[in-house]
Amino acid sequence: MLLYFALINIKIRFKGTKLGVAWTAIEPTLTFVLLFVVFTTIRDQPKENFGVYLLTGVIIYHVFTRGTLGGLTSLRSNYSILESINIQKEFFPVVATLATCILLIVQLAIFFGLMPFFQFIPTWTIILLPIVIGLLMLLILGFSYILSIIHVYVRDIQPLWGITVHALFFITPIIWYVDDIKGNDLGNVLMSLHAVNPIGQIVELAHNIVVFNTIPPLSDWLYTVTFCFAIFLFGYYVFHKFDSKIVEVL
Protein backbone atom coordinates (compact mmCIF):
# COMPACT_ATOMS: atom_id res chain seq x y z
CA MET A 1 0.00 0.00 0.00
CA LEU A 2 2.81 2.43 0.93
CA LEU A 3 4.61 1.59 -2.30
CA TYR A 4 1.50 2.18 -4.44
CA PHE A 5 0.95 5.56 -2.82
CA ALA A 6 4.63 6.47 -3.19
CA LEU A 7 4.42 5.73 -6.94
CA ILE A 8 1.21 7.77 -7.20
CA ASN A 9 2.97 10.56 -5.28
CA ILE A 10 5.77 10.55 -7.87
CA LYS A 11 3.26 10.55 -10.74
CA ILE A 12 1.40 13.56 -9.30
CA ARG A 13 4.65 15.36 -8.46
CA PHE A 14 5.70 15.41 -12.12
CA LYS A 15 2.21 15.68 -13.62
CA GLY A 16 2.05 18.28 -16.35
CA THR A 17 5.81 18.39 -17.01
CA LYS A 18 6.98 17.29 -20.45
CA LEU A 19 9.99 15.36 -19.16
CA GLY A 20 8.24 13.83 -16.15
CA VAL A 21 10.33 11.77 -13.75
CA ALA A 22 13.46 12.48 -15.84
CA TRP A 23 13.62 15.80 -13.96
CA THR A 24 14.82 13.83 -10.95
CA ALA A 25 18.02 13.14 -12.87
CA ILE A 26 18.19 16.35 -14.90
CA GLU A 27 17.83 18.79 -12.00
CA PRO A 28 20.82 17.67 -9.87
CA THR A 29 22.90 16.92 -12.97
CA LEU A 30 22.45 20.44 -14.35
CA THR A 31 23.15 21.94 -10.91
CA PHE A 32 26.30 19.86 -10.72
CA VAL A 33 27.44 20.82 -14.26
CA LEU A 34 26.87 24.49 -13.52
CA LEU A 35 28.82 24.40 -10.24
CA PHE A 36 31.54 22.24 -11.75
CA VAL A 37 32.12 24.64 -14.65
CA VAL A 38 32.13 27.67 -12.34
CA PHE A 39 34.47 26.22 -9.73
CA THR A 40 36.91 24.54 -12.10
CA THR A 41 37.14 27.88 -13.95
CA ILE A 42 37.76 30.11 -10.92
CA ARG A 43 40.11 27.65 -9.24
CA ASP A 44 43.47 27.29 -10.99
CA GLN A 45 44.06 23.79 -9.74
CA PRO A 46 40.92 22.07 -8.50
CA LYS A 47 41.52 19.41 -5.86
CA GLU A 48 41.84 15.81 -6.89
CA ASN A 49 38.45 14.18 -7.55
CA PHE A 50 36.67 17.52 -7.14
CA GLY A 51 34.01 16.38 -9.64
CA VAL A 52 33.00 13.34 -7.58
CA TYR A 53 33.23 15.40 -4.36
CA LEU A 54 30.88 18.02 -5.79
CA LEU A 55 28.49 15.46 -7.29
CA THR A 56 28.22 13.58 -3.97
CA GLY A 57 27.29 16.77 -2.12
CA VAL A 58 24.90 18.03 -4.81
CA ILE A 59 22.95 14.76 -4.95
CA ILE A 60 22.60 14.42 -1.16
CA TYR A 61 21.61 18.08 -0.84
CA HIS A 62 19.13 17.76 -3.71
CA VAL A 63 17.53 14.63 -2.21
CA PHE A 64 17.25 16.37 1.18
CA THR A 65 15.75 19.54 -0.33
CA ARG A 66 13.20 17.81 -2.56
CA GLY A 67 12.41 15.23 0.13
CA THR A 68 11.69 17.76 2.87
CA LEU A 69 9.70 20.04 0.53
CA GLY A 70 7.62 17.02 -0.56
CA GLY A 71 7.11 16.07 3.09
CA LEU A 72 6.20 19.64 4.03
CA THR A 73 3.23 19.76 1.65
CA SER A 74 2.18 16.13 2.22
CA LEU A 75 -0.75 16.84 4.55
CA ARG A 76 -2.21 19.87 2.80
CA SER A 77 -1.97 18.28 -0.63
CA ASN A 78 -3.93 15.26 0.61
CA TYR A 79 -6.66 17.21 2.35
CA SER A 80 -9.43 15.67 0.20
CA ILE A 81 -8.45 12.23 1.52
CA LEU A 82 -8.00 13.38 5.11
CA GLU A 83 -11.46 14.94 5.26
CA SER A 84 -13.11 11.84 3.79
CA ILE A 85 -11.43 8.80 5.27
CA ASN A 86 -10.19 8.01 8.75
CA ILE A 87 -6.54 7.24 8.20
CA GLN A 88 -3.35 7.53 10.24
CA LYS A 89 -2.22 11.06 9.46
CA GLU A 90 1.47 10.13 9.48
CA PHE A 91 0.81 7.99 6.42
CA PHE A 92 1.35 11.01 4.16
CA PRO A 93 4.80 12.21 5.35
CA VAL A 94 5.90 8.55 5.32
CA VAL A 95 4.65 8.12 1.72
CA ALA A 96 6.42 11.35 0.65
CA THR A 97 9.69 10.07 2.17
CA LEU A 98 9.28 6.69 0.46
CA ALA A 99 8.74 8.50 -2.87
CA THR A 100 11.99 10.39 -2.25
CA CYS A 101 13.70 7.08 -1.53
CA ILE A 102 12.48 5.64 -4.87
CA LEU A 103 13.65 8.73 -6.77
CA LEU A 104 17.04 8.39 -5.09
CA ILE A 105 17.54 5.19 -7.13
CA VAL A 106 17.45 7.32 -10.32
CA GLN A 107 19.94 9.75 -8.82
CA LEU A 108 22.30 7.00 -7.71
CA ALA A 109 22.26 5.68 -11.29
CA ILE A 110 23.39 9.15 -12.44
CA PHE A 111 26.01 9.21 -9.70
CA PHE A 112 27.57 5.90 -10.66
CA GLY A 113 27.02 6.58 -14.35
CA LEU A 114 29.16 9.74 -14.18
CA MET A 115 32.04 8.12 -12.26
CA PRO A 116 33.82 6.79 -15.41
CA PHE A 117 33.64 10.33 -16.82
CA PHE A 118 35.85 11.44 -13.89
CA GLN A 119 37.99 8.29 -14.19
CA PHE A 120 37.08 7.55 -10.62
CA ILE A 121 36.87 4.06 -9.18
CA PRO A 122 35.39 3.86 -5.68
CA THR A 123 37.02 1.55 -3.15
CA TRP A 124 35.44 -0.92 -0.74
CA THR A 125 34.53 1.86 1.72
CA ILE A 126 31.57 2.66 -0.55
CA ILE A 127 29.73 -0.36 0.92
CA LEU A 128 28.97 1.93 3.87
CA LEU A 129 26.94 4.21 1.59
CA PRO A 130 23.59 2.45 2.34
CA ILE A 131 24.05 3.39 6.03
CA VAL A 132 24.50 7.04 5.05
CA ILE A 133 21.43 6.85 2.79
CA GLY A 134 19.45 5.28 5.65
CA LEU A 135 20.42 8.18 7.93
CA LEU A 136 19.48 10.66 5.19
CA MET A 137 16.01 9.09 4.87
CA LEU A 138 15.54 9.11 8.65
CA LEU A 139 16.48 12.79 8.68
CA ILE A 140 14.08 13.59 5.82
CA LEU A 141 11.25 11.74 7.58
CA GLY A 142 11.97 13.57 10.85
CA PHE A 143 11.89 16.95 9.10
CA SER A 144 8.79 15.92 7.12
CA TYR A 145 6.94 15.20 10.37
CA ILE A 146 7.88 18.61 11.79
CA LEU A 147 7.37 20.66 8.62
CA SER A 148 4.10 19.02 7.52
CA ILE A 149 2.41 19.63 10.88
CA ILE A 150 3.65 23.23 11.02
CA HIS A 151 2.40 23.71 7.43
CA VAL A 152 -1.11 22.76 8.59
CA TYR A 153 -1.14 25.64 11.09
CA VAL A 154 1.22 28.16 9.43
CA ARG A 155 1.50 28.10 5.64
CA ASP A 156 4.38 30.58 5.74
CA ILE A 157 6.66 27.71 6.66
CA GLN A 158 6.80 26.76 2.96
CA PRO A 159 8.66 29.87 1.66
CA LEU A 160 10.60 30.03 4.93
CA TRP A 161 11.86 26.48 4.48
CA GLY A 162 12.75 27.29 0.87
CA ILE A 163 15.06 30.05 2.13
CA THR A 164 16.44 27.79 4.87
CA VAL A 165 17.51 25.09 2.42
CA HIS A 166 19.22 27.78 0.30
CA ALA A 167 21.19 28.79 3.40
CA LEU A 168 21.96 25.13 4.11
CA PHE A 169 23.61 24.86 0.71
CA PHE A 170 26.28 27.31 1.78
CA ILE A 171 26.94 25.88 5.24
CA THR A 172 27.10 22.31 3.91
CA PRO A 173 30.48 21.13 2.54
CA ILE A 174 29.36 20.88 -1.09
CA ILE A 175 31.49 23.55 -2.78
CA TRP A 176 34.05 23.88 0.04
CA TYR A 177 36.24 21.41 1.95
CA VAL A 178 36.12 21.04 5.75
CA ASP A 179 39.96 21.00 5.93
CA ASP A 180 40.25 24.26 3.96
CA ILE A 181 38.17 26.42 6.26
CA LYS A 182 39.76 25.52 9.56
CA GLY A 183 41.96 28.17 11.13
CA ASN A 184 40.46 31.52 10.14
CA ASP A 185 37.62 33.49 11.76
CA LEU A 186 35.08 32.97 8.98
CA GLY A 187 36.06 29.34 8.86
CA ASN A 188 35.45 28.94 12.59
CA VAL A 189 31.95 30.38 12.20
CA LEU A 190 31.30 28.03 9.30
CA MET A 191 32.61 25.08 11.31
CA SER A 192 30.32 25.96 14.23
CA LEU A 193 27.35 26.01 11.83
CA HIS A 194 28.55 22.81 10.20
CA ALA A 195 28.61 21.10 13.61
CA VAL A 196 24.85 21.68 14.07
CA ASN A 197 23.92 21.08 10.44
CA PRO A 198 22.69 17.48 10.18
CA ILE A 199 22.77 17.40 6.40
CA GLY A 200 26.35 18.72 6.54
CA GLN A 201 27.32 15.82 8.80
CA ILE A 202 25.77 13.33 6.37
CA VAL A 203 27.54 14.90 3.39
CA GLU A 204 30.86 14.76 5.27
CA LEU A 205 30.38 11.06 6.04
CA ALA A 206 29.54 10.41 2.37
CA HIS A 207 32.62 12.35 1.19
CA ASN A 208 34.84 10.27 3.45
CA ILE A 209 33.57 6.89 2.31
CA VAL A 210 33.06 7.72 -1.39
CA VAL A 211 35.73 10.28 -2.32
CA PHE A 212 38.48 9.97 0.30
CA ASN A 213 38.22 6.18 0.69
CA THR A 214 38.42 6.44 4.47
CA ILE A 215 36.17 5.17 7.21
CA PRO A 216 35.16 8.08 9.43
CA PRO A 217 35.93 7.64 13.16
CA LEU A 218 33.26 6.00 15.29
CA SER A 219 32.64 9.30 17.09
CA ASP A 220 31.59 10.92 13.78
CA TRP A 221 29.17 8.08 13.09
CA LEU A 222 27.71 8.23 16.59
CA TYR A 223 27.32 11.99 16.40
CA THR A 224 25.42 11.84 13.09
CA VAL A 225 23.32 8.82 14.10
CA THR A 226 22.32 10.54 17.37
CA PHE A 227 21.56 13.78 15.52
CA CYS A 228 19.34 12.06 12.93
CA PHE A 229 17.50 9.93 15.50
CA ALA A 230 16.97 12.96 17.74
CA ILE A 231 15.36 14.91 14.87
CA PHE A 232 13.28 11.88 13.86
CA LEU A 233 12.03 11.27 17.42
CA PHE A 234 11.35 14.96 18.00
CA GLY A 235 9.43 15.11 14.69
CA TYR A 236 7.45 11.99 15.59
CA TYR A 237 6.56 13.46 18.99
CA VAL A 238 5.55 16.88 17.62
CA PHE A 239 3.47 15.29 14.84
CA HIS A 240 1.50 13.06 17.18
CA LYS A 241 1.05 15.88 19.67
CA PHE A 242 -0.88 17.95 17.11
CA ASP A 243 -2.23 15.46 14.57
CA SER A 244 -5.72 15.05 16.07
CA LYS A 245 -6.82 18.51 14.87
CA ILE A 246 -5.34 18.40 11.35
CA VAL A 247 -8.65 17.99 9.48
CA GLU A 248 -10.38 20.70 11.52
CA VAL A 249 -7.58 23.22 11.00
CA LEU A 250 -7.25 22.45 7.28
Partner: protein, 243 residues
Protein backbone atom coordinates in the same frame (compact mmCIF):
# COMPACT_ATOMS: atom_id res chain seq x y z
CA UNK B 1 -22.64 -10.99 20.31
CA UNK B 2 -22.63 -7.19 20.38
CA UNK B 3 -26.01 -6.01 19.07
CA UNK B 4 -24.84 -2.44 18.42
CA UNK B 5 -22.91 -1.32 15.35
CA UNK B 6 -22.36 2.21 16.73
CA UNK B 7 -22.48 3.40 20.33
CA UNK B 8 -21.88 7.06 21.15
CA UNK B 9 -21.71 8.06 24.81
CA UNK B 10 -21.74 11.70 25.92
CA UNK B 11 -19.91 13.02 22.88
CA UNK B 12 -18.84 16.64 22.99
CA UNK B 13 -17.11 18.45 20.18
CA UNK B 14 -16.17 22.08 19.76
CA UNK B 15 -14.15 24.09 17.27
CA UNK B 16 -11.74 26.93 17.95
CA UNK B 17 -12.96 30.15 16.38
CA UNK B 18 -11.54 33.68 16.30
CA UNK B 19 -13.01 36.24 18.67
CA UNK B 20 -12.44 39.01 16.15
CA UNK B 21 -12.86 38.58 12.40
CA UNK B 22 -10.89 41.69 11.47
CA UNK B 23 -7.44 40.44 12.34
CA UNK B 24 -4.64 39.69 9.90
CA UNK B 25 -3.47 36.10 9.41
CA UNK B 26 -0.34 36.84 11.47
CA UNK B 27 -2.30 38.38 14.34
CA UNK B 28 -4.67 35.41 14.36
CA UNK B 29 -1.78 33.09 15.07
CA UNK B 30 -1.32 34.62 18.51
CA UNK B 31 -4.89 35.72 19.21
CA UNK B 32 -7.18 34.20 21.80
CA UNK B 33 -9.60 31.67 20.46
CA UNK B 34 -13.06 30.94 21.70
CA UNK B 35 -14.80 27.56 21.65
CA UNK B 36 -17.87 26.96 19.54
CA UNK B 37 -19.75 23.87 20.71
CA UNK B 38 -20.99 21.82 17.72
CA UNK B 39 -21.89 18.57 19.46
CA UNK B 40 -23.32 18.82 22.95
CA UNK B 41 -23.42 15.63 25.01
CA UNK B 42 -24.59 13.33 22.23
CA UNK B 43 -25.50 9.77 23.14
CA UNK B 44 -26.84 7.42 20.49
CA UNK B 45 -27.00 3.66 20.05
CA UNK B 46 -27.46 2.23 16.55
CA UNK B 47 -28.22 -1.47 16.23
CA UNK B 48 -26.65 -3.70 13.61
CA UNK B 49 -28.81 -3.71 10.50
CA UNK B 50 -30.55 -0.49 11.43
CA UNK B 51 -31.12 2.29 8.88
CA UNK B 52 -30.91 5.65 10.62
CA UNK B 53 -31.77 9.03 9.11
CA UNK B 54 -30.38 12.16 10.75
CA UNK B 55 -32.18 15.38 9.90
CA UNK B 56 -31.81 18.97 10.97
CA UNK B 57 -31.17 22.48 9.74
CA UNK B 58 -27.83 23.58 8.28
CA UNK B 59 -25.29 23.93 11.07
CA UNK B 60 -27.17 21.69 13.49
CA UNK B 61 -24.18 19.33 13.84
CA UNK B 62 -25.23 16.47 11.50
CA UNK B 63 -22.07 16.38 9.40
CA UNK B 64 -19.82 16.80 12.43
CA UNK B 65 -21.59 13.87 14.08
CA UNK B 66 -21.01 11.73 11.00
CA UNK B 67 -17.34 12.74 10.94
CA UNK B 68 -16.99 11.81 14.59
CA UNK B 69 -18.62 8.43 13.87
CA UNK B 70 -16.21 7.82 11.00
CA UNK B 71 -13.19 8.75 13.13
CA UNK B 72 -12.21 11.76 11.01
CA UNK B 73 -12.84 14.13 13.92
CA UNK B 74 -11.68 13.31 17.41
CA UNK B 75 -14.30 14.25 20.03
CA UNK B 76 -13.26 16.51 22.92
CA UNK B 77 -14.85 14.04 25.35
CA UNK B 78 -17.07 10.98 25.35
CA UNK B 79 -16.73 7.44 24.07
CA UNK B 80 -17.29 5.84 20.66
CA UNK B 81 -17.68 2.13 19.99
CA UNK B 82 -17.79 0.94 16.39
CA UNK B 83 -18.29 -2.72 15.54
CA UNK B 84 -17.60 -3.50 11.88
CA UNK B 85 -15.98 -2.12 8.74
CA UNK B 86 -17.02 1.50 8.15
CA UNK B 87 -17.24 3.15 4.75
CA UNK B 88 -17.82 6.89 4.88
CA UNK B 89 -19.37 8.71 1.94
CA UNK B 90 -19.05 12.15 3.39
CA UNK B 91 -18.58 14.46 0.46
CA UNK B 92 -18.49 14.36 -3.28
CA UNK B 93 -15.40 12.63 -4.51
CA UNK B 94 -14.56 10.84 -1.27
CA UNK B 95 -10.78 10.86 -1.09
CA UNK B 96 -10.38 11.18 -4.83
CA UNK B 97 -7.45 12.91 -6.50
CA UNK B 98 -8.50 15.11 -9.39
CA UNK B 99 -5.30 14.54 -11.38
CA UNK B 100 -5.78 10.76 -11.45
CA UNK B 101 -8.18 8.75 -13.60
CA UNK B 102 -11.06 6.57 -12.36
CA UNK B 103 -9.06 3.33 -12.14
CA UNK B 104 -6.21 4.94 -10.18
CA UNK B 105 -8.66 6.61 -7.84
CA UNK B 106 -10.60 3.39 -7.27
CA UNK B 107 -7.41 1.55 -6.32
CA UNK B 108 -6.21 4.42 -4.12
CA UNK B 109 -9.52 4.83 -2.25
CA UNK B 110 -10.03 1.06 -2.01
CA UNK B 111 -6.62 0.68 -0.34
CA UNK B 112 -7.38 3.51 2.06
CA UNK B 113 -10.70 1.90 2.94
CA UNK B 114 -8.94 -1.32 3.86
CA UNK B 115 -9.16 -3.49 0.73
CA UNK B 116 -6.28 -5.53 -0.67
CA UNK B 117 -4.80 -4.32 -3.96
CA UNK B 118 -5.48 -7.62 -5.77
CA UNK B 119 -9.07 -7.54 -4.49
CA UNK B 120 -9.65 -3.98 -5.76
CA UNK B 121 -8.07 -4.63 -9.13
CA UNK B 122 -10.62 -7.38 -9.71
CA UNK B 123 -13.45 -4.99 -8.90
CA UNK B 124 -12.29 -1.93 -10.86
CA UNK B 125 -14.32 -2.71 -13.98
CA UNK B 126 -17.44 -3.49 -11.89
CA UNK B 127 -17.14 -0.15 -10.09
CA UNK B 128 -16.74 1.76 -13.36
CA UNK B 129 -19.62 -0.16 -15.00
CA UNK B 130 -21.99 0.42 -12.07
CA UNK B 131 -21.13 4.12 -12.12
CA UNK B 132 -21.74 4.09 -15.91
CA UNK B 133 -18.41 5.77 -16.55
CA UNK B 134 -16.87 3.28 -19.02
CA UNK B 135 -16.35 6.00 -21.63
CA UNK B 136 -14.55 8.27 -19.16
CA UNK B 137 -12.43 5.79 -17.25
CA UNK B 138 -9.12 7.10 -18.63
CA UNK B 139 -9.98 10.74 -18.03
CA UNK B 140 -8.57 12.59 -14.97
CA UNK B 141 -11.29 13.29 -12.42
CA UNK B 142 -10.80 17.04 -12.74
CA UNK B 143 -12.87 16.78 -15.94
CA UNK B 144 -15.72 14.91 -14.23
CA UNK B 145 -18.95 16.62 -13.26
CA UNK B 146 -20.10 16.62 -9.62
CA UNK B 147 -22.66 13.93 -10.39
CA UNK B 148 -20.08 11.70 -12.10
CA UNK B 149 -17.78 11.89 -9.08
CA UNK B 150 -20.66 11.11 -6.73
CA UNK B 151 -21.57 8.08 -8.89
CA UNK B 152 -18.01 6.82 -8.79
CA UNK B 153 -17.77 7.26 -5.01
CA UNK B 154 -21.06 5.49 -4.36
CA UNK B 155 -20.24 2.68 -6.75
CA UNK B 156 -16.88 2.15 -5.03
CA UNK B 157 -18.44 2.02 -1.59
CA UNK B 158 -20.93 -0.60 -2.76
CA UNK B 159 -18.12 -2.83 -3.98
CA UNK B 160 -16.29 -2.53 -0.66
CA UNK B 161 -19.41 -4.02 0.91
CA UNK B 162 -18.91 -2.43 4.37
CA UNK B 163 -20.78 -3.36 7.56
CA UNK B 164 -21.58 0.29 8.27
CA UNK B 165 -22.23 2.95 5.66
CA UNK B 166 -22.18 6.64 6.63
CA UNK B 167 -23.69 8.89 3.96
CA UNK B 168 -23.82 12.67 4.01
CA UNK B 169 -26.30 14.09 1.53
CA UNK B 170 -24.06 13.50 -1.46
CA UNK B 171 -26.60 11.38 -3.33
CA UNK B 172 -28.74 14.43 -3.95
CA UNK B 173 -26.26 15.66 -6.60
CA UNK B 174 -26.95 12.75 -8.98
CA UNK B 175 -29.65 12.64 -11.64
CA UNK B 176 -32.93 10.75 -11.20
CA UNK B 177 -31.56 7.56 -12.73
CA UNK B 178 -28.67 7.57 -10.28
CA UNK B 179 -30.92 8.31 -7.31
CA UNK B 180 -33.19 5.39 -8.27
CA UNK B 181 -30.16 3.16 -8.58
CA UNK B 182 -28.89 4.31 -5.18
CA UNK B 183 -32.32 3.67 -3.69
CA UNK B 184 -32.19 0.05 -4.91
CA UNK B 185 -28.65 -0.29 -3.57
CA UNK B 186 -29.81 0.89 -0.14
CA UNK B 187 -32.64 -1.63 -0.23
CA UNK B 188 -30.17 -4.41 -0.92
CA UNK B 189 -28.03 -3.06 1.95
CA UNK B 190 -31.02 -3.34 4.23
CA UNK B 191 -31.72 -6.90 3.10
CA UNK B 192 -28.12 -7.84 3.90
CA UNK B 193 -28.59 -6.50 7.45
CA UNK B 194 -26.04 -3.71 7.00
CA UNK B 195 -26.11 -0.56 9.09
CA UNK B 196 -26.69 2.74 7.31
CA UNK B 197 -26.58 6.25 8.74
CA UNK B 198 -27.88 8.86 6.33
CA UNK B 199 -27.66 12.59 6.93
CA UNK B 200 -30.03 14.91 5.12
CA UNK B 201 -31.79 18.23 5.49
CA UNK B 202 -34.13 17.48 2.64
CA UNK B 203 -37.47 16.22 3.93
CA UNK B 204 -38.51 15.13 0.48
CA UNK B 205 -35.60 12.71 0.37
CA UNK B 206 -37.00 9.38 -0.79
CA UNK B 207 -34.40 7.59 1.31
CA UNK B 208 -36.13 8.76 4.48
CA UNK B 209 -38.98 6.43 3.57
CA UNK B 210 -36.85 3.39 4.27
CA UNK B 211 -35.25 4.48 7.55
CA UNK B 212 -36.07 2.55 10.72
CA UNK B 213 -35.51 5.48 13.07
CA UNK B 214 -34.92 9.16 12.51
CA UNK B 215 -32.87 11.55 14.63
CA UNK B 216 -33.63 15.26 14.78
CA UNK B 217 -30.69 17.51 15.62
CA UNK B 218 -30.59 21.19 16.50
CA UNK B 219 -27.76 23.32 17.89
CA UNK B 220 -25.51 20.32 18.38
CA UNK B 221 -28.07 18.40 20.42
CA UNK B 222 -30.34 15.47 19.69
CA UNK B 223 -33.86 16.84 20.04
CA UNK B 224 -35.81 13.72 19.19
CA UNK B 225 -35.20 10.09 18.21
CA UNK B 226 -37.97 7.86 16.99
CA UNK B 227 -40.43 6.99 14.26
CA UNK B 228 -39.40 8.76 11.00
CA UNK B 229 -42.87 10.21 10.32
CA UNK B 230 -43.10 11.59 13.84
CA UNK B 231 -39.58 13.06 13.69
CA UNK B 232 -40.19 14.65 10.28
CA UNK B 233 -43.46 16.14 11.55
CA UNK B 234 -41.68 17.51 14.60
CA UNK B 235 -38.92 18.92 12.36
CA UNK B 236 -41.50 20.70 10.20
CA UNK B 237 -43.15 22.21 13.30
CA UNK B 238 -39.74 23.10 14.64
CA UNK B 239 -38.79 24.94 11.48
CA UNK B 240 -42.16 26.75 11.35
CA UNK B 241 -41.69 27.91 14.95
CA UNK B 242 -38.14 29.10 14.30
CA UNK B 243 -39.31 31.04 11.25
Amino acid sequence: MNQYAIKLENINKSFDIEKSKNKSEFARLFSNKTKLSVLDNISLKIKKGEFIGIIGRNGSGKTTLLRVMSGIYTPDSGRIHIDGVVAPLLHIGTGFHKELNAKENIIMSGLLLGMKKSEIEQKVSDVIRYAELEKYSQMPLKHYSTGMRARLAFSLVLQIDPDILLVDEILSVGDKKFRDKSFKAFLSFKKKNKTVVLVTHNLGNQFLKMVDRAVLMDNGKIVLIGNPDEVVRKYTEYQDNKN
